[in-house]
């Protein structure tokens, strides 16, 4: 099992911290492992990006991938 680098932003940082290393083969596993460790994450609104590309469906991961949890934007 590989360790995947997971970044978080905005209000999610207060829940799961800026960065986590999570053992996972796909994005669904990333999310479920994070929710186990940080129950407050469940029910929060966010989308996932892999290597800065938005992903809406479960996606297999590679060792070097960077997953990001992005809550609703509020720039501008």
């Amino acid at each position: 099992m590989m360790k995947i680098r997971v970044l978080s932003f905005g209000g999610l940082v207060e829940i799961i911290g800026k960065e986590n290393m999570i053992e996972a083969i796909d994005t669904d596993q990333v999310v479920s492992h994070l929710e186990q460790t940080y129950p407050a994450l469940a029910g929060r609104k966010y989308v996932l990006a892999i290597n800065e590309q938005m992903k809406t469906e479960n996606t297999l991961l590679q060792e070097s991938d960077v997953v990001a949890l992005l809550p609703p934007y509020s720039g501008g």
């Binding site: 932003f9 905005g10 209000g11 800065e52 992005l70 934007y73 509020s74 720039g75 501008g76």
Partner: protein, 148 residues
């Protein structure tokens, strides 16, 4: 994309002087007939009796810059512009200070006006940037962009 995306981020508030400088730089381009400028300013909103003192901006910077390049290409292929510049604050911007500066120039006004409008819309919708409202009592709350 092969070239490094252009940086749009400014630490802290955007200075009104930057607007004047941007205009001065384009005084030599003699085929520009119109400049359209949008500036976002932090409002001292009152939410549940607490007043916003500042917004603290953070971003997934590398992703934001890549997204901004895509927006830029989309806009430049849609509108005939002489130039387009975007600046967004990171860190703390106090109420009354500027946090966003969009600048579009074109031969005729329609192109610059539409482009500026679209860019502001796309920045708010597509750039991974987050603003945390800091209230005068030091409590805080994460903003969410509403699209009306």
């Amino acid at each position: 994309m092969t070239s490094k995306p252009k940086n749009i981020f400014v630490q802290g508030a955007i200075s009104p002087a930057l607007v004047a400088e941007s205009l001065e730089k384009h005084a030599t381009e003699q085929n520009i007939g119109a400049h359209e400028i949008f500036l976002g300013q932090v409002r001292a909103d009152e939410i549940d009796g607490r007043k916003v003192a500042a917004i603290q901006y953070t971003s997934y910077e590398s992703m934001a810059l890549t997204q901004m390049e895509e927006i830029r290409e989309r806009i430049l292929s849609t509108y005939s512009l002489a130039c387009m510049h975007v600046y967004h604050s990171l860190g703390t911007v106090r109420a009354g200070q500027l946090c966003l500066f969009v600048f579009a120039s074109s031969r005729h006004r329609n192109e610059a006006q539409q482009a500026c409008r679209d860019v502001v819309e796309l920045i708010k919708k597509e750039l991974p940037i987050w603003g945390e409202e800091i209230f005068e009592d030091n409590s805080s709350q994460w903003k969410t962009n509403a699209f009306k």
